[in-house]
Structures are given as structure tokens and as C-alpha cells.
């Protein structure tokens, strides 16, 4: 029994120890909680941030011209529960701003449970002062900011727009909320030293020239839409990009920014680029060595593959050399060249140049290519001349730039970029030698091929045309086309790529009933070149025979244009020397 009693004692001691231990631990927790809650410097507490305008960086073009900026505005709101005389308040407000809905305001102000009612948003300083001078109890003013776009429609699709809560909804504005937040972050830094605007690769002068010419082309050829871009072939910078119809980012909703036809055709839409893609096939075949410039292909008869018959638009019905295939844009010849390279290698090359993947740039509006479900002999043959697969126009332009610039594929960008950065990002897809041959073909096509009507005298334009039949109700239409031209200048040392695309241009008397690319997209591109080349500092060479022929053609095609006359005069001088 004594052992038992000792046991009792031990038990009680241990119960006591347990109790003490628990008490101690609870005290420690309470102590730590007290230290955490009470022992903290009030400064360190999270500031209560009222929802405010998130700073957005300015957007400027490559020369620092303002494209988007925040402007301070005031917004007027009411606190009905503080309002003394509702009728007087409504009367005074409507006397200053007659457009206000008096009945609605009276109803809102009379509800004394309401703590907050917007009266007017984003007004200027004058009106703000006049409303404050009314001295209505319960009417207050909140300082806000509003996004303005000084250039309006000019670069609407590139710059994009943001909503009233300062959230970027499209274009670069949307990019600034995501991956481009680095620019925004620089604004928050209180030292302000790093605060910098988002500088685009865009050049508003080039942008303006491109947009004006596209607008003219749309009117002249009665097209449904138009698109175009100018790219630096050595850096991938996009100096201009236009998609028509467009909208005004200052009032995007009213100007139809959300309508279907206002999408950015150059990136958010995919199109069959047609014969423009032939250039890719040529580069592949020349680079693979299966084709040489002096080699000929049989284009006497339509090419039959299974049930499919491939025909030529400008049918020559003879054996054609490689340059002839290019300048006559022969589908038969191009398809033969692709089949000679082989299905797998053709597929691998298209993948290598990025035409199978979604092209991503800073713009959030990017569409995925539409590709044939299975890669067969037929799809290879048709893909060779740009049928059966659709890509973003920008994507096509990016590849053509690589064919011209010496063979390096450079991801395009809307932000300013230098040559070194582009060099790092670039990837070789064809050899220098192939690129030189491609430049020859492009230039040849502008001298005596389908791109003759570019004719910008002395600026050595070269390029490839494309006319694709539009798919209407699931069938190719003979009557509705998408015409495009991708070219570059000066072709002996290419610097800039120009792309022009017209959606469903109509034949006119002037085009002699034709509506293919050479009759509308090409002359438009020629005019763009003639306008932007002087801006970009590219000098014309007018002393060659070619230039003189171009000048003659130019005068016939563009009788309205007297600007190149000065150039022509200079050309006459240099020709006389």
C-alpha cells in the first residue's frame, strides 16, 4: 500500500507539472501575440490604400512623340446622407451642367442611405471650379486621371486603349499591365529617376504615311479593309502598323473598337497569304540545293495530284526557269519545287521559320495559324503557293524579312530595339547566299514581274505579290480576294520591309477590270515607299535604266503625285552627268 500511496503522489505531481506547462505555453503565445500586435512601430503597418488611379506610363514613338499619356481630371460625386437641400443641389448642378438628368439625380440624392453617387466623371479644371463655387453641401470632387491619346486613330491598333479604371484592354496598353509592367514599375519608384515612358519602335511619320496611303487605297479600290506594316529588316522593329477600319482610342466604344471588323488584321487575324508564300518555298528549295536559279521546271500542263488539279493564273504553258516561275508566279512550278524537296523537309522548314506556331509579340492580339489537319502531298503542294494554310500577316512579313536580310529570322517587336539585341534574338534559317538569290528574285519581280507597278523610282523596290481567293461560306470564291504585297527597299541593301494587304478590292476602270495584287496592293506599296523612303533617309538612285523606266511607269500610275517630280528633276540632273 505504501507503494500505492507514493504512486498517488507522483500522479498528482505530474498533473500539476502538466498544468504548469500548459499555462506557461499559453502565456508565451499571448506574449508573442502581444509583441506582434502592440510592440510594432505604427509606421510599419500597412497603409490603408483607397482605390486610386494606377499609374500608367506614357507611350511614345521612337522619336519621343507622345502617343498616350495620363492627364489629371476631376470627378464630381455626391454624398446624399450629407445633403441638406436636395432640390437646391439638383437645381444648382443643372444650372451649370444642363445635360445632367435632373430627375435621376433627385431620386438618387433623396435616398439618404446612399453614401456615394457619381455626378460627373472626368471633367476639366474650369467646370470643376464652377461646381465647387456652387458650394453645395454633400457635393465633392475627386481628383482623377484620364488616359488620352493625342494621335487619336493614328496608331490605334498598336497603342490599344485602356478603360476608365486605368486597365489596359488592348494593344500595348494591355501589354503594360502584364509583361510590360516594368515600365509601370518605374513610375512607382518614388525617386522618379527611373521613370521612363514605354518607347515604341513606331515612327509616327511613317505610320501616318502608311495609314494615309492605305485609306486612299481602300477608297480607290472599294476594299472592305486594309492593313499594312513597315518593318526594319535588321532589327525586327515595327515602324508602322495599320489596320483599317480602325477606331479612336479616346472613345473606343463609340468608334466601334469592339466591332468584329476592327480587329487588328495584321496580328489578330489569320489569312491565306497566297503567292507571297512562294518566296518561302523558293528560299527552301534554293537553300536545300534541289533548285538552282538556272534550273527549269515543267509548267506546260496543270499538275495533278490525286483528285486535285493545280493550275496557273498567268499560265505560260511551257518549261519555266526558276526566276520565271517567280515573276510569273507559277503555281505549277512552285508546287513542283516543293515536292522535289519532299514532304517532311517542307514541313520541317515551315516549322523552322515559325509559320506553324502562334507568333507572339508585345500585342496581346495574336492569332494561331490555321494548318491542314494532315500533311499530305496535296497540302505540301498547295502550301508551296500559300494555299491551305493561314497565318498572321505579320508572321508572313517576319519570314520574308529573314529571306531578305541575309537569312536571319528576327522576332518582330513593337518596342524600340537596337541591332545588337536583334542579333542575339536572331536565328539563321537560310544561308547568306540563298538570301542574296532571293533579293535578286524579289527585285526582278519588281522590274519585270507581277510587282512592276510598285515603281517607286530609284528606291529599288523588290517584292512578291499574293492574291488569295477569300473563303466565303466555306468555299473559295472566284470573285472575292485578299491581295497582298510584301516588299523591301532598297533591294541592293535592304533596310525596310513594306507590307500592304487589301481585303476584297474591287476591279475598277483604271485597273482594267483586274483586282489582283499587282493592280492595287502593289501600286499602294509603291506610294508608301515613295513617301517613307525620304523620311527614313534612304537615298534614291536615279541614274540607271531601270530607274528611268520606273519613273515613266510611276507617272502613268500616279498622275496625281507631283512629289517625285523633284526627285525626277534631280534624276534628270544625275542622268545628265
Amino acid at each position: 500500500m505504501t507503494a500505492g500511496r507514493a504512486g498517488i503522489g507522483a500522479l498528482f505531481t505530474r498533473q500539476r507539472l502538466t498544468i504548469l506547462a500548459f499555462a506557461a505555453v499559453f502565456l508565451v503565445i499571448a506574449g508573442k501575440a502581444a509583441w506582434l500586435t502592440l510592440g510594432v512601430d505604427p509606421e510599419r503597418r500597412t497603409a490603408v490604400v483607397r482605390k486610386a488611379h494606377i499609374p500608367r506610363p506614357d507611350i511614345v514613338d521612337r522619336n519621343g512623340i507622345l502617343l498616350a499619356a495620363d492627364m489629371p481630371f476631376a470627378s464630381v460625386f455626391a454624398e446624399p446622407y450629407r445633403m441638406i437641400d436636395v432640390d437646391e443641389a439638383v437645381e444648382k448642378l443643372t444650372s451649370v451642367v444642363p445635360s445632367l438628368n435632373a430627375a435621376k439625380l433627385r431620386r438618387l440624392f433623396s435616398d439618404k442611405r446612399r453614401k456615394f453617387v457619381w455626378v460627373l466623371r472626368k471633367i476639366g479644371p474650369d467646370l470643376e471650379k464652377r461646381i465647387l463655387d456652387l458650394g453645395i453641401p454633400g457635393i465633392r470632387v475627386m481628383k482623377e486621371k484620364r488616359r488620352i491619346y493625342p494621335m487619336g486613330r493614328l496608331a490605334a491598333h498598336v497603342v490599344g486603349f485602356s478603360n476608365i479604371d486605368s486597365k489596359g484592354l488592348s494593344g500595348i496598353e494591355r501589354f503594360l499591365d502584364g509583361a510590360g509592367a516594368i515600365f509601370t514599375a518605374s513610375l512607382i519608384n518614388p525617386s522618379g529617376k527611373d521613370a521612363r515612358p514605354a518607347q515604341l519602335a513606331l515612327d509616327v511619320r511613317v505610320q501616318h504615311a502608311l495609314r494615309a496611303e492605305l485609306q486612299r487605297a481602300m477608297r480607290k479600290y472599294k476594299a472592305l479593309g486594309a492593313g499594312g506594316l513597315v518593318m526594319n529588316v535588321h532589327t525586327g522593329e515595327i515602324l508602322a502598323m495599320v489596320s483599317l477600319p480602325d477606331f479612336n482610342p479616346n472613345d473606343p466604344v463609340k468608334t466601334g473598337a469592339l466591332k468584329k471588323d476592327r480587329l487588328n488584321r495584321m496580328t489578330a487575324g489569320v489569312y491565306e497569304l497566297g503567292s507571297v508564300i512562294k518566296a518561302v518555298t523558293f528560299a527552301m528549295a534554293l537553300d536545300a540545293g534541289t533548285a538552282r536559279l538556272d534550273k527549269s521546271y515543267d509548267a506546260r500542263f496543270p499538275l495533278r495530284i490525286g483528285r486535285m488539279k493545280i493550275n496557273d493564273y498567268h499560265a505560260q504553258r511551257r518549261w519555266l526557269t526558276v526566276p520565271e516561275i517567280f515573276i510569273h508566279s507559277s503555281n505549277i512550278g512552285t508546287a513542283r519545287m516543293a515536292l522535289e524537296v519532299g514532304l517532311e523537309r517542307h514541313k520541317a522548314f515551315l516549322r523552322k521559320v515559325g509559320l506553324f506556331d502562334k507568333l507572339r509579340t508585345e500585342l496581346p492580339e495574336a492569332a494561331r495559324p490555321l494548318l491542314p489537319r494532315r500533311w499530305t502531298k496535296v497540302s505540301s503542294a498547295t502550301a508551296a503557293f500559300g494555299h491551305g494554310f493561314a497565318v498572321q500577316p505579320l508572321q508572313g512579313a517576319t519570314v520574308i524579312a529573314a529571306l531578305i536580310n541575309g537569312g536571319k529570322l528576327i522576332p518582330p517587336t513593337f518596342l524600340k530595339r537596337d541591332k545588337d539585341a536583334a542579333e542575339v534574338l536572331s536565328r539563321r534559317i537560310i544561308s547568306e547566299d540563298t538570301s542574296r538569290k532571293m533579293r535578286y528574285l524579289f527585285r526582278l519581280n519588281a522590274i519585270e514581274g507581277t510587282a512592276r507597278r510598285a515603281a517607286a523610282p530609284g528606291w529599288r523596290v523588290g517584292g512578291k505579290t499574293g492574291t488569295a481567293e477569300k473563303v466565303i461560306n466555306g468555299r473559295y470564291s472566284k470573285d472575292h480576294r485578299l491581295t497582298s504585297f510584301i516588299g523591301a527597299f532598297p533591294m541592293d541593301d535592304p533596310k525596310y520591309l513594306v507590307m500592304v494587304m487589301l481585303d476584297d478590292p474591287r476591279p475598277t476602270a483604271e485597273t482594267r477590270g483586274f483586282a489582283t495584287s499587282g493592280w492595287n496592293a502593289v501600286p499602294t506599296a509603291g506610294r508608301v515607299v515613295a513617301r517613307i523612303a525620304p523620311i527614313l533617309g534612304v537615298k534614291p538612285k536615279l541614274d540607271s535604266e531601270e530607274a528611268k523606266k520606273e519613273l515613266a511607269r510611276w507617272r502613268k500610275i500616279n498622275p496625281d503625285w507631283n512629289v517625285p517630280m523633284a526627285v525626277a528633276a534631280k534624276g534628270a540632273v544625275s542622268g545628265a552627268q
Partner: protein
């Protein structure tokens, strides 16, 4: 004339006069606070995962009613009924835990839950109090029936339960159960040396867990060496600390919290921090005091009981409840590494709330003088070599005392 007379010897009357009203009040107060805190802490979480703001609050209320019923019901039981109930809960819980391993959904990588109709329950929550009561009973039998390997059986119950927890895996519950079990063994009278050895073993297992489970390792390392995160980047623990910092004495008011909007589990594991931010130190202190009051009062009252089973079981349940609260609050104030553990009776979650209510109800039942005395008499009557009821106190006197309405505890 009072509604219930002290002379009445019916079940309700005996319960009415023997139940610990202060404890009961404290438990109800904790439950009520849980409702208020849920209203403040859960809407941001609900909105973040795309639910209606009051989703968790409504469900919290829905869970609360059965919890209250279960709590009161359990407090009516006598010792024998408690054992039977808990044996059933243990067996059913273990079966469900095994099922959960195979057919239960994997939530955050662990098989802890099982879907029964529209409800999903976490059986391990219920096994915890059941295990405590059963092992307390076995330990109480150990000296009375030396020829029955009672302690070994208790170890077996422990091994089975913890083994299943380990497989889920649920390191938090494993740690909690082990700590409570060691506490029980300590009260039982294990030699200090043995306790020390066991503690060493636990340490070894803990190191093993640290080495074996990447998430355990990450959390412990995060605790020992707070990472240098880039400016602006913060993790859950930083937000918990920020929440307390913001709270101050009186808090930022319900819904006024800033940091707790970033706490992923502001309604469950990190509700203590959320409370700290919105209601300040005053509420935090009140919560700690209520837990301390409940745990210490049960431990003190249990210590005075002559019934060994009641003492062990009630103390074990108090330790289980207290340790769970301590681990949760300890994690919140960063005294312990992050560990998923609910704050009993306050955090959102049906299983957790019901299991806590069941455990506390049982503890309340075993603390009732009439129950304890009857059980002590029962132990004494069967006993030989009894170490608690002295020979001078015959079993009969215990019953007589209880029948008198033994307020003396």
C-alpha cells in the same frame, strides 16, 4: 419553486447539478466567437476562390448546430457509455481512414477526406478523441489487471492510428496525437527515463520526416531560416505577421483587414492572424484566455478525481484540445513552423468542429461528480491492489456521496 429539484435523481437533474457550467459557458463563448470571426475572415477567401462572399459563413453556422447538439449530448453520458461510444467511433473512424486512402479524393496531395453523400468528412478528426479515451481506459486498467497487456494494447491503438495518419500523409495530426499520447503516458506515471527515451525517439522521427517529406522540410527550413524574398514578394507567414502588426490593440475592424486578404487559409489555419488584424490584441488575448481556461480547468478538476479512467481521459482530452490550439496559434505567431492545423471550435470545417465538440462534451461528462464517483466506485469494487481509492473509503460511500448530489468534486 425551481424547475429542477436537487432531490430529483433523474438523468436531467443529475446532469443539471453536476455539470460544470463555467466550462460549458466557455465552450459556448468560443463557438460564438467563431461565428463572429468567420464573418470577418472568410468572405475574402470565398470571393478569391469565386464563391459567394458568405459561403463559408453560412456553412459555418450550418456546422455549428450539430456541434452544439453533439457537445451537450456527450456531456450527458456516463463513463461506460463514453467508452462504448468512443470504441465505436474509433473502429468506424479507422475503417473510414483506410477507405479514404483508397477511394478518398486527394486534396492538396493528401487522402484525408471521404465523401459520404453530400458531405465530406475527415475521419481522423474523430479518431483523435476516441483514441485518447480508449487509451486512457487501457492505462487505467494497467495496474488493476496486471495480467492483461493493457499498455501494449494502447500502444497498438496508437500505432494503428498514427500509421494511417502517416500514410495520408498528415504530419500535423501525427505530431498532435503523438504529443497527446506522450502526455498521457507521462500522467500515467511512466519513468522519467522512459519518457526521455520516447521523446528522443519522437525527435528522431521528426528529423526523419524532415528528410523524407519535401513539404515538411521546406516549411521547417522556412521557419529556421526566413528566406530573403525580393521586395514586395511575401509568403503566407509574412502576411500572418503583417496581419498581427496591423491589428494593434483594437484591430482594424471587421472587414477592414488588409493583410488577411492575402492569407489563403484565413478562414481555417490562419484565422488567428486574421482575428488579430481585424479585432486586435483584445480579441487575441480573449481567445488565448478562453483556451487556457478550458484546458487548465479540465486538467485541475481531473487531477482531483478519484476515478483513474475519468482523470486520464479528461486530462487527455484537455491536452488534445489544448495542444491543437497551441500548435495552431503557435504557427500563427511564428513560434512554430507552418503546419496545417485548425483552431478548434473557431476555424471553419465541420469535422474539426464536431470532433472538438465531441471531445469536450465527453470531458465534461467525465468531470461530472456523479459519473466520476460511480466510476471510481466501480474501479474500486473490482480492484485489488488499488492505488487510488483508499481502503478507508469503501466504494459504497462514493455512490452515496454522488447520490447526495455531490457538488464536492
Amino acid at each position: 419553486m425551481p424547475l429542477i429539484s436537487r432531490k430529483d435523481s433523474g438523468l436531467l437533474a443529475r446532469w443539471w447539478f453536476s455539470v460544470d457550467w463555467a466550462l460549458m459557458g466557455a465552450v459556448f463563448l468560443l463557438m460564438a466567437l467563431g461565428v463572429i470571426f468567420s464573418l470577418a475572415a472568410s468572405p475574402p477567401v470565398a470571393e478569391r476562390i469565386g464563391l459567394d462572399g458568405f459561403h463559408f459563413f453560412r456553412r459555418h453556422l450550418l456546422f455549428l448546430f450539430p456541434a452544439v447538439v453533439l457537445f451537450v449530448f456527450a456531456s450527458f453520458l456516463d463513463a461506460r457509455q463514453v467508452r462504448r461510444l468512443m470504441l465505436g467511433v474509433y473502429v468506424a473512424g479507422i475503417v473510414l481512414m483506410v477507405l479514404a486512402l483508397f477511394i478518398g479524393p486527394a486534396i492538396k496531395g493528401a487522402h484525408r477526406w471521404i465523401n459520404i453523400g453530400p458531405f465530406s468528412i475527415q475521419p481522423s478528426e474523430f479518431v483523435k478523441p476516441a483514441f485518447v479515451v480508449l487509451s486512457a481506459w487501457l492505462l487505467a486498467q494497467a495496474r488493476r489487471l496486471p495480467d492483461v497487456p493493457a499498455v501494449a494494447i494502447a500502444w497498438g491503438l496508437y500505432g494503428l492510428f498514427v500509421g494511417l495518419l502517416f500514410l495520408q500523409p498528415d504530419m500535423g495530426q501525427t505530431a498532435l496525437t503523438t504529443a497527446t499520447w506522450l502526455g498521457l503516458l507521462f500522467l500515467f506515471g511512466l519513468r522519467w527515463r522512459t519518457i526521455g527515451l520516447l521523446a528522443g525517439g519522437v525527435l528522431l522521427v521528426a528529423v526523419g520526416a524532415w528528410a523524407m517529406f519535401p513539404h515538411v522540410r521546406a516549411r521547417v527550413d522556412r521557419f529556421l531560416h526566413p528566406p530573403q524574398l525580393p521586395d514586395g514578394a511575401r509568403d503566407q507567414m509574412d502576411f500572418a505577421i503583417e496581419a498581427f502588426n496591423n491589428g494593434g490593440l483594437l484591430g482594424m475592424g471587421p472587414g477592414g483587414g488588409m493583410a488577411n486578404k492575402h492569407l489563403p487559409d484565413a478562414h481555417t489555419d490562419f484565422i488567428f492572424a486574421a482575428v488579430g488584424e481585424e479585432f486586435g490584441f483584445v480579441a487575441v488575448a480573449l481567445v488565448v484566455m478562453l483556451y487556457a481556461f478550458i484546458v487548465l480547468r479540465i486538467l485541475i478538476k481531473a487531477g482531483r478525481l478519484r476515478c483513474r479512467f475519468c482523470r486520464f481521459a479528461a486530462s487527455g482530452l484537455a491536452m488534445l484540445f489544448g495542444l491543437q490550439a497551441i500548435i495552431n496559434m503557435g504557427v500563427n505567431v511564428q513560434l512554430l513552423p507552418a503546419k496545417g492545423m485548425t483552431l478548434p471550435l473557431i476555424s471553419y470545417g465541420g469535422s474539426s468542429m464536431w470532433a472538438a465538440a465531441l471531445g469536450l462534451g465527453v470531458a465534461l461528462a467525465l468531470l461530472r461528480a456523479d459519473v466520476a464517483e460511480a466510476e471510481a466506485a466501480h474501479e474500486g469494487a473490482e480492484a485489488y491492489g488499488d492505488d487510488l481509492a483508499s481502503p478507508a473509503t469503501p466504494a459504497v460511500s462514493g455512490i452515496a456521496k454522488a447520490a447526495q448530489g455531490g457538488q464536492a468534486a
